[in-house]
């Protein structure tokens, strides 16, 4: 993104910050939902877009963030809670990154899927055997508008970092890895280190989103915090929008959040089936995402 586009986007975010002043019911809830998935999908695409490593660990990091709030929320001031959530997320991502260095393609996908499940089971085991409870109450003094503003802040930060990354040598290395990892290695790129760094950066934002969102629930248990549907929804939103560009995921987030909202309200019992159908439709009909469609339309117009 150019400097001007970034400035415009940040100004738009500031303007969107007024939403809670206009409505604190349905529209604010919808805005929070969109902002949440905008951060998640953009953070996911930061790593998975250029490298084309499809990660299903989104729910793992989101859950880590949410659970950190449930455990530490009352004990520490809010900024420190966020710091802890981000820190734990990054730590786990570094461990995972080191373990998955040698994995690529479908093996990486399966590993990240397993990771989310593993962490959920570990937390469940801990809660049942050590904490002797299956759920936790979230008591923190964070209002809905505050949640929304924090999400907008995270999104703005992502845009700044993403813009910097697209001009940096690190971002370029990431794209080379996505094109051909063997060539990348033989061009002097320490592929392992680059991949881990970006995976951790992505995990930081996913964990922070989980932490910021936690106060929306008064009660959480492992099944709520580590919900695999989150991983799939974020993936399909980023793919629909276009994971290769910074604002691409947002283009997928807005229509799909609205669609899922409608489906959830009208067909609560068939939600998973319809989600699956939407998933297949996106992959078949828009393989290059909305960004790809726009680029093709622009080429046609020019020709």
């Amino acid at each position: 993104m150019s400097g001007t586009a970034l400035a415009l986007a940040l100004a738009a975010l500031l303007a969107l910050g007024t939403v809670p002043l206009l409505d604190d019911g349905f529209w604010l809830a919808l805005a929070i939902n969109i902002a949440q998935y905008a951060v998640l999908a953009t953070a996911w695409a930061l790593f998975s877009g250029p490298t084309r490593y499809i990660s299903l660990a989104t729910a793992a990091f989101f859950g880590i963030g949410a659970y950190t709030v449930a455990v530490l929320g009352e004990a520490l001031p809010w900024p420190l809670v966020l710091l802890a959530a981000g820190g734990i997320g990054v730590l786990v991502s570094l461990l995972v990154g080191l373990a998955t260095l040698r994995l690529s393609g479908v093996y990486f996908v399966v590993f990240t899927f397993g990771l989310a499940e593993l962490i959920r089971q570990l937390v469940t085991w801990f809660e049942v055997n050590v904490a002797r409870s299956i759920g936790r109450y979230v008591f923190v003094d964070i209002t809905q508008p505050q949640i929304y503003w924090q999400l907008l802040g995270l999104f703005g930060l992502l845009l700044v970092i993403g813009t910097w990354l697209s001009r940096s040598r690190l971002g370029f290395a990431l794209r080379v890895i996505g094109e051909d990892e063997v060539v990348a290695r033989h061009a002097g790129i320490d592929t392992a280190r680059v991949k881990i760094a970006l995976f951790a950066l992505s995990a930081l934002f996913l964990s922070l989103t989980g932490a910021v969102m936690a106060p929306r629930w008064t009660y959480i248990d492992p099944a709520i915090a580590f919900n695999m549907t989150t991983s799939f929804q974020v993936l399909i939103m980023a793919l629909l929008g276009g994971a290769q560009s910074l604002l691409g995921p947002l283009l997928g987030v807005i229509p799909l959040v609205l669609l899922f909202e409608v489906l959830g309200a009208n067909f609560p019992n068939h939600f998973s089936i319809l989600l699956g159908a939407a998933f297949m439709l996106v992959v078949y009909a828009v393989p290059r995402g909305i960004v790809g469609l726009l680029a093709r339309a622009r080429r046609r117009a020019a020709a």
Partner: protein, 243 residues
Amino acid sequence: MSVPLLRVEGLTRAFGGLVAVQDLSFEVREGEILGLLGPNGSGKTTALNLVSGALAPDAGRVTLRDRDVTGLAPHRLSRLGIARTFQLVRVLPAMSCAENVLAGIAFGRDAAWGGAAWDRARALLARVGLAGREDHRADTLTYVDQKRLELARALALSPRLLLLDEWLAGLNPTELREGIALIRSLRDEGRTVLMVEHVMDAIRALTDRCVVMNAGRRIAEGPPGAVLAEREVVRAYLGDEDA
């Protein structure tokens, strides 16, 4: 005698029960073109992979100048000055030609980024005959132009040793003449090249010395004319009756 640029000693690598390279030793001297020859399956590409770090050897030693570089990761070797091309040409398909070359410049031995790096990328593209193609996507290039691009990317690392894996294979006679001239011009610049090659015309025209492999072992070494006439080399290529 001065220290050779590259020294390979007792290099061995097996895949399961198949010993692809066995006790291989040779040297590459500063400024020469060394040909690595042998029939299909004789272990040439494996040897190249062991030198470039794509594979780690089971035994043996690789020394670059006086530094032991055995088993180092490819990105470390690239930064120390070993660049390579691939038997099946590998470009970064969705990137522009300039970005392909930039990939070598940005992380290589003499790394650069920004305006200076773009200037170098343009110059390198011109060097291999791709002037003015900076913005073309790599996957729109013809086969021979992709090979040129790959060479430019390897040169972008400012290599001390350039490894070419059948870089001249699959070219038509005109392209082959141009390709030979291009590689000769590299030698004239004083570059050191280790090339795996099957094209005999190119071997005779370019190499100063050759190492011939068969079934993972070195069976001959010397100037191309003499080596290719050796009885065991002829037998390896053509069988006993012709030897």
